[in-house]
């Protein structure tokens, strides 16, 4: 039997903005709360009150903003000291995080603090026939899916993969409670200090957040040719990904690597250019909604997961594709 039906969402923010993937977590919580007849609570650290409305529009019933000058930078310690007492007090059925660097370490730490189970990188949360909550998450870097049933009254701690729980659009007529709460942090217990945050150059989107990922492998021949991918990514408002040898050669930053020992992405569109499609690479991208492969070799394994394949020279086709997209997207705004 599920006693509390409250779902608490930890909202990630930075540079005084809510991270876009936090809305996905709110949206996922809303759907589960509706199915269970429960409510959605959001916890934010140090954001401006005016930002909280957007969380309500996406489905939060109430938003708590903890206020403390120390929240100018947020470390694992500060976040953990904030959320742990709240979970102990509210005893929610579930606590949702985004499966980001922050969300993963915070959810794992909270699970140890409370000695309760954790599910990382969840890709679906559904109600079963008996009203039980069923969760699926990829394991072996996406080569298999693990099925888990949540048992008991919780709190269950889940982090949600980015790009999977996107809602259609916010409902700006929704209303909810927004509360600012002065929150005391025992600052003698803080050890971690953030010295610097560096954004990737060019303001490029992170591959895990992007709806379109344009990826290049060794078939791109040389680092200079990645400009072709960047051009296409720019037109599609996407991000550039890469295979491992490309990263190992120093052509691209490691944060671009897609695959089992890189990033796992689930965009709407993944365009693989000059990538053979090794088991390790496929693990990181085969859950994309639509996959395009451009490869010279008709026998390249990448074609086995591609929805559409183009057998040909990526260096020749890419500029044409970019131009074509520019034409049609330009005309439609």
């Amino acid at each position: 039997m599920i006693v509390s039906k409250k779902i608490l969402v930890f909202v990630e923010s930075g540079e005084n903005a809510i991270k876009p993937f936090a809305f996905e977590a709110i949206h996922a919580a809303r759907i589960l709360a509706d199915a269970l007849g429960g409510s959605v609570d959001a916890l934010c650290l140090g954001i401006e009150k005016s930002l909280a409305d957007s969380l309500v529009h996406w489905g939060a019933d109430s938003v708590k903003i903890f206020v403390n000058p120390l929240f100018e930078t947020i470390t694992l310690e500060k976040a953990l000291l904030s959320i742990e007492p709240l979970v102990n007090e509210q005893k929610p059925y579930a606590v949702f995080f985004s499966a980001t660097t922050y969300g993963k370490e915070l959810s794992a730490s909270l699970s140890a603090k409370l000695n309760v189970g954790l599910l990382t990188d969840c890709v679906s949360i559904d109600l079963g026939k008996q009203g039980e909550v069923l969760v699926r998450r990829p394991v072996y870097a996406g080569k298999a899916i693990s099925h888990v049933t949540l048992q008991g009254s919780g709190p269950h701690i889940l982090s949600l993969r980015q790009n999977v729980f996107r809602g259609p659009s916010p409902d700006i007529s929704r209303i909810g409670k927004v509360k600012l709460i002065d929150f005391k942090i025992p600052d003698d217990r803080l050890v971690l200090k953030i010295r610097e945050v560096v954004r990737e150059s060019g303001g490029q989107m992170d591959v895990t957040e992007a709806r379109v990922v344009v990826s290049g492998g060794l078939g791109m021949q040389k680092p200079e040719n990645f400009i072709l991918l960047e051009d296409l990514a720019q037109v599609l408002r996407g991000a550039v990904g890469a295979s491992r040898p490309v990263v190992d050669n120093g052509w691209r930053n490691y944060s671009n690597q897609i695959g089992q020992t890189g990033r796992t992405v689930q965009p709407d569109l993944y365009i693989a250019c000059g990538i053979s499609g090794s088991v390790q690479h496929l693990a990181g991208m085969s859950a994309a909604k639509c996959i395009i492969a451009i490869n010279k070799d008709p026998n390249a394994p990448i074609f086995s997961v591609a929805d559409y394949g183009i057998i040909g020279d990526a260096l020749e086709i890419l500029p044409l594709l970019t131009e074509e997209f520019r034409k049609v997207l330009g005309s439609s705004g």
Binding site: E105, S109, A112, A141, H156, K193, Y254, Y308, E324
Partner: protein, 262 residues
């Protein structure tokens, strides 16, 4: 200084996963040291190269075959290896694993703990942060660069976050989870492999770790694992033929009108 490196044996990343009765049939699959743990071991070795009075202790909890990963780490150059093994440790969950690792770490003593960013089998990324909580030490995850201030009492870590990097400072003792980019793990030398064969692997059992099933923190009752499935098979792909120009026009049309992804 003592550095503990937590390591795990995982199924080779090149392996194809096949299921039987919704379970992994892993008996025939090759196993390797978790790739992220290699960065962890390498980083410990590099610290020892500049701070000579450093002892590197590998710790692993798992089945008999996990000794291979300890041997692999010894061959890279670690000083000691401790295997946490006991029939009571069968089917424990990851929190219990983290708890047992914390018990071992307390027995061994440490200044730094390194873990991999995650194990590439269950991909939970839970052990590192949970271990830090049980030891009540700070934790920095997904580290791609690590430096120390002169007295070796403060660490400065660069780590990967979505869309950029973050530089975080921490006093020691602390726990770090290691990400690709941190270093280039060395291949074991022949001498290292021979030396590793001779080294004794210590075993800590439940008794030594002060563990009984009763007190274990467990999520086995709240998370019921009902099985594995393979990802949905993708439908038969379509090859788009024609001249490069035709191909580009056609593809854009399909993505816009049929797939509606752009």
């Amino acid at each position: 200084m003592r550095i503990i490196v937590c390591v795990k044996q995982v199924i080779d990343t090149a392996a194809r996963i096949e299921l039987k009765d919704q379970k992994l049939d892993g008996t025939a699959l090759a196993r390797v040291l978790n790739p992220y743990d290699e960065f962890a071991i390498e980083e410990a070795l590099r610290i020892r190269e500049s701070k000579h009075d450093t002892e590197i202790v590998l710790v692993s909890l798992g089945a008999e075959c996990f000794r291979d990963s300890l041997r692999a780490g010894l061959a890279m150059g670690a000083d000691r290896a401790v295997h946490l093994m006991d029939p009571l440790f069968n089917n424990i969950d990851s929190l219990t694993t983290a708890y047992l690792l914390s018990q071992a770490a307390k027995l061994l003593g440490f200044d730094i703990i390194f873990c991999g960013r995650q194990a590439v089998d269950d991909d939970m990324a839970q052990i590192g942060p949970a271990l830090a909580v049980y030891l009540e030490i700070p934790c920095i995850t997904v580290v791609t660069q690590l430096d120390f201030l002169e007295d070796w009492d403060v660490a400065v870590a660069v780590r990967q976050i979505e869309g950029g990097t973050e530089t975080i400072e921490s006093s020691l003792p602390a726990l770090f989870t290691c990400q690709k980019g941190l270093n280039q793990p060395r291949l074991p030398s022949l001498k290292g492999i021979m030396a590793a064969k001779k080294k004794e692997i210590e075993t800590f059992d439940a008794d030594k770790l002060g563990f009984s099933l009763k007190e274990k923190p467990s999520s086995n009752e709240t998370l019921i694992h009902t099985g594995l499935s393979l990802p949905d098979r993708r439908g038969e792909g379509k090859i788009i033929g024609g001249s490069p120009n035709e191909v580009a026009t056609q593809l854009v049309k399909i993505l816009r009108e049929q797939e509606k992804v752009v």
